[in-house]
Amino acid sequence: LLELMENGSGCLNGSGAADSAEKAQQQQQCPAVQLSERNCEAVRVIGQYLRELGLARSAEALVLEAGCPLESGAAAQFRSSVLLGDWDGAEASLASLRRALWRESSWSEIAFRLAEQRYLELLESGAHIAALCVLRGKLTPLQFSPDRLHRLSGLIMCSGPEELRQLSGWSGAAGGTRQALLDSVEQFFPPSVMLPPKRLSVLLDQAVRAQVSRCRHHNTSLSPDQLTLLADHSCQAAASVPSVCSQVLDAHQDEVHVCQFSPNGRFLATGGRDCVAIVWLVEAAANPPGAPRVRHHLTLRIGEERGGVAWLAWSPDSRLLLACAAEEATEVIVWEAETGDCIKKLKHRDEDSLTTAAWLPDSNHFVVGGNRGHFYLCSVDVGFEKAWDFIRVVALATRREDDGGTAVLAADTFARIRRYRFDTMQDETLFREDGPVMSMSISQDETLLAVCVASAGVHLWDLRLRVCRRRLHGLTHGAYLLHASIGGPNQDFVASGSHDARVCVWHRGCQAGDGAQQHLLPDKLSGHGGLVSCVSWNPRHHGMLASASDDCTVRIWLPASLAAAALAASADGTGPGGAGFSSNGCCSSTVSKHQPPPLL
């Protein structure tokens, strides 16, 4: 191998090169630059890149000046012969390259491919006699792949080049097939003889992909080959990750325990100890576009004796809102969100405790449950339908299954997450957590489940592979219930509340610099004055996050770039919700009043 290389390098008298003497003279005229092996490889790779772009003269000049030929002389000869259609010359060069092969056994395959190209080109140009000679004299003796040989001989019957191309799937001499032949042959030779195809493109792509995997806030749908090479890629946090509180909603009179955006992103529901559920409208400001603001819409009351709103669930069509009350909750209430009409008050038995709920995809059926052991399937039309006995439910979610039915996912007091089918009465344990489960939240595409485990953080389970994908740490533990939410265009972001009054945001796809995937720390958003119990991502405006806290407020967080736009809109009174405080129950905070949130 070295022999072939040396023959081609330095003095450029590679085997069979006709003008080698001339080139050697030119070489001696250029100043000799001593290149290390790595530099020589780099030059070869660049030269190949230039040649692929069609800048052949630049490639040649580069090779001359650097004294690093792209490939051995015989390989260069082979390449030019194939591209020119000089088949005999190609065969001769190939013969001299035979020693360099990785495996001797691949020889017949290469020879076959070369002869095959020759045969097809001859057929295409109408030289059937010559083609037949190639078939008999070159292809058949190789005894390689009788099937292919048979197919090739069948092609002789083709009436014209069009039919030939169609039947064989070969795109013709002018269709880039000569280059394709060269690309396919390259794999049989070591890189010192022939470079692997498109080597520099491959290296650049690998580098960009590595940068993407380290991007802490990766939130773009651009593919790696669309990203710039001129600087290491990292998504601007300002554009994608919420970091600024753009609104403080203080219409609640007591601690706020739940907040949920509707699936269509148009509504926000909040509720807490003051026994009201408030529905807010999300409006994307027209000027400038894309800066969403929240405006009060309705206040819905549940009875005072119920200890507050424990859970709010939106129907999948975003039309209905369901509220569960706290521990003594015997009744769940369903309203129509737009009008505030109470559609259903569902009560089954006096001793029930129904503190959590989830809707099924038909926006009519829903499941409710509580840790006293009540677990019911109900519907808006009929009311109570079915009970599943003796399961102490902590959290609920639903998921469509392949056979068209819906599985209910329930976390119970034994730290199990199980799957229940109310139609077939089948059940199955999916996961066992290693600590008590506080709450559960499913991603919008129903592939990921975020489970908040007491004193352990947020665990992300993959529902298709049935494994725990990530354990997210960094939130502050304590005695109170926390909720998490999965959001972002690719379900990449996870947010949760925390006992230290801050909102935690993780990007689950990012690999920490040292490869320690498990120990990714969250960004923490400060501003609340008390425990943050619940968070919710807006499914339509991806960077928008709502958080509910014991300081009796709900805060809306936006990425810095959007937030600046939103505040500008409200400041000059042209944006929606820009008029006053008491009329719509919310006040907007200006950026200057708040400390910039620490990002770690």
């Binding site: 009179q253 007591d254 601690e255 325990h257 100890r273 003051d274 026994c275 005072e304 507050g308 424990a310 706290a326 521990e327 840790n371 052991g373 006995d389 003796f390 399961i391 102490r392 007091t413 034994f414 199990r416 199980r418 059940d427 344990t429 008590p436 506080m438 007491a454 005695a479 109170y480 219930l481 008390g530 425990l531 119990s533 014991d550 009796c552």
Partner: protein, 128 residues
């Protein structure tokens, strides 16, 4: 602020665990679930209000600072335990026993019989 606002309420919604079981013990004051009969080790203990039970594991308790107490059975280091929900004192937990014969109690919890209720639970239907 709100008409129902009660200063004695804790902030946030408490995370209340539940151990299940066929006979469930809960706080007599607020019915917060604590433990079950499977966790019961002995009924032959005495507390301030009379009879007391020794349990292996109890949930939803807050513990006090460590206290040095001399009891009938010797010197022990204990912490008082109270119901996490209503803060009623319910008993104590043994952290350290000076006498070797008493070391079996370490980590176990005493709940006074008069301060807890026993009620009917149900068995776990899941077989796997």
């Amino acid at each position: 602020k709100s008409p129902g606002f009660n200063a004695s309420y804790s902030m946030g919604r408490l995370h209340i665990e539940h151990m299940g079981g066929e006979r469930v013990f809960s706080c007599a004051n607020c019915d917060c679930p604590l433990t079950n009969r499977q966790q019961l080790i002995s009924t032959r203990f005495t507390g301030a209000t009379g009879r007391a039970f020794l349990f292996n594991r109890v949930v939803n308790l807050d513990t006090s600072e460590l206290q040095d107490r001399v009891m009938l059975t010797g010197r022990h280091m204990v912490r008082d335990v109270s119901c996490r929900k209503c803060k009623t004192k319910l008993g104590w937990v043994y952290e350290f026993a000076t006498e070797e014969s008493q070391q079996y109690k370490e980590g176990k919890i005493i709940l006074e019989r008069a301060l807890i209720n026993e009620s009917e639970g149900f068995p776990d239907p899941v077989k796997d």
